[in-house]
Symmetry: C2
Subunit: 292 residues, 2 copies
């Protein structure tokens, strides 16, 4: 019997879980339309839901987190301040069109570098609810999030634009000119991480992706991995300065593995969290709200 439907709905991704007693996952849909694609449908978000998980829609409570509550989403909800725990998220759910929306978080709203997230807070809550320890987290992505949790609450975070900057440098600067497609080179990635940890301006270090290639010390098919290593190495070296224990990587697949490699090269302890953090966080928030 279905107890809850959870959705992690991002700009370009849609993952949904049909959960039974105790939050057990009965079924997963992971290829629904992201917000950009869904909002372009004639029937908009409602149609996207029907197309993706129509057979599940039988009155079971639905809870959703992610960029779906941003300005371009289904409903825009205000950010919650830090520290933020599952109870605060549960207490501020927005019921709209029959769906309970989890809102995002804001860090340092009046300071020099305010920051925001929508979706990652739910993954961190899921980690903590499952008995995971606090400490420092990284959620790699187009915009990576580095977050700190203490005593069951999210207490701080910041966004690092590594993925998007990598794509812009690769596709729109001189660094991309010599790149050749290839099978991927872990050696070049590690070399980049080593270079990325060096002192001095990142804006300078990246130029080595060109000069090493010009001097035939880096093959064309290694440049992209080297540059990726440079940027992830910079991100991890700077982010891990705040670590006071093993860093938890919340992410999947190749990208999480790349970050783990970077941590290893830099000599910082890190572990990849088990999968399912978003689903688990949605369950926990729904449970605290009494939706189950």
């Amino acid at each position: 019997m279905t107890a809850l439907i959870g959705i992690d709905w991002g700009t370009t991704s849609f993952r949904a879980w049909r959960m039974g007693q105790g939050g057990k996952v009965l079924e997963t849909i992971s290829d629904g339309p992201g917000i950009l694609a869904a909002s372009a449908l004639p029937g908009g978000f409602r149609q996207a839901l029907q197309d993706s998980i129509g057979p599940w829609l039988d009155g079971t409570p639905i809870i959703a987190s992610g960029m779906i509550t941003s300005r371009n989403g289904w409903v825009e909800t205000p950010y919650l301040p830090l520290p933020l725990d599952a109870a605060a998220l549960a207490g501020s759910l927005t019921l709209h069109d029959g769906i309970h929306f989890v809102t995002g978080a804001v860090s340092d709203p009046d300071g020099p570098a305010p920051d925001v997230m929508r979706g990652e807070e739910t993954e961190i809550i899921g980690h903590l609810a499952g008995g995971g320890t606090g400490g420092l987290f990284v959620l790699p992505g187009t915009h990576s999030k580095w977050a700190r949790a203490e005593g069951g609450s999210l207490v701080g975070f910041r966004t690092v634009m590594t993925g998007e900057v990598f794509a812009a440098l690769r596709d729109h600067t001189i660094l991309g000119r010599l790149i050749q497609p290839g099978p991927g080179s872990e050696e070049a990635f590690r070399q980049g991480v080593e270079a990325g940890r060096q002192d001095g301006a990142l804006l300078g270090r990246i130029f080595s992706a060109r000069t090493l290639a010009l001097m035939d010390r880096l093959a064309g098919e290694q440049i992209a991995d080297y540059l990726s290593g440079l940027l992830i190495g910079d991100e991890v070296a700077q982010g891990a300065r705040d670590a006071d224990g093993p860093v938890t990587i919340i992410g999947r697949g190749d990208l999480a593995a790349r970050y783990q490699t970077a941590f290893e090269v830099l000599g910082v302890s890190a572990q990849i969290a088990p999968p399912g953090m978003a689903q688990r966080g949605l369950w926990e928030i729904a449970r605290m709200r009494g939706l189950l």
Copy 2:
């Protein structure tokens, strides 16, 4: 009477000087075709020369520096190692098609981050030949160069891709989405420099160009200047760590002024060199070679 024709020939720029006795500038052409445009002409570089300074070509010695000696230039010449002085540049001129080409410099060719320049070495030599002091130099541009000179020689340098990265971020990432055209805001530029000096990853700090705008704390027409300040502030804060006296800015116009503002905000002493460093360097190298 013309004693020397000097050309500073870059990828997208061409400046030429007709010089008389003692290096006095008799005439200047500053709008000739850069290498990309020149190489696309039916008659190539020869035609570009004829079109730009044809009336000057009467057998007077011609000396040229810049990217014109790179792989895509008129003739490719090998880089010279550091330390590098006017005599070494004079001793390695390449005579090709009747023109004396000044070659570029390589830094740390076997190290983890080799670096190269073509053209800036001549400007620095010009500064030193004119009685300018050594120390730390910055030559702002698409690819800024930070260089150190001691005892009449160029002894170290590195490239910082600030200008090109700025354009890629503005035009090809989410940071550019909220930008509105405007008259330019020195206030926003200074605010960006302040933010750029903060500790922590640059890849994270740049995200504030979006969040400050989302929170209506930065107007759409201020975002570009703020982002420019963030990047130049990062470059200057990191580059100036090596300063042991006033930094010399070799550059012109708005960009040199921006850098001077950044130095001022960061509390580092800096001065803009008088104009004409390339022309002066070309004269000095030709003089040492006995071309005059």
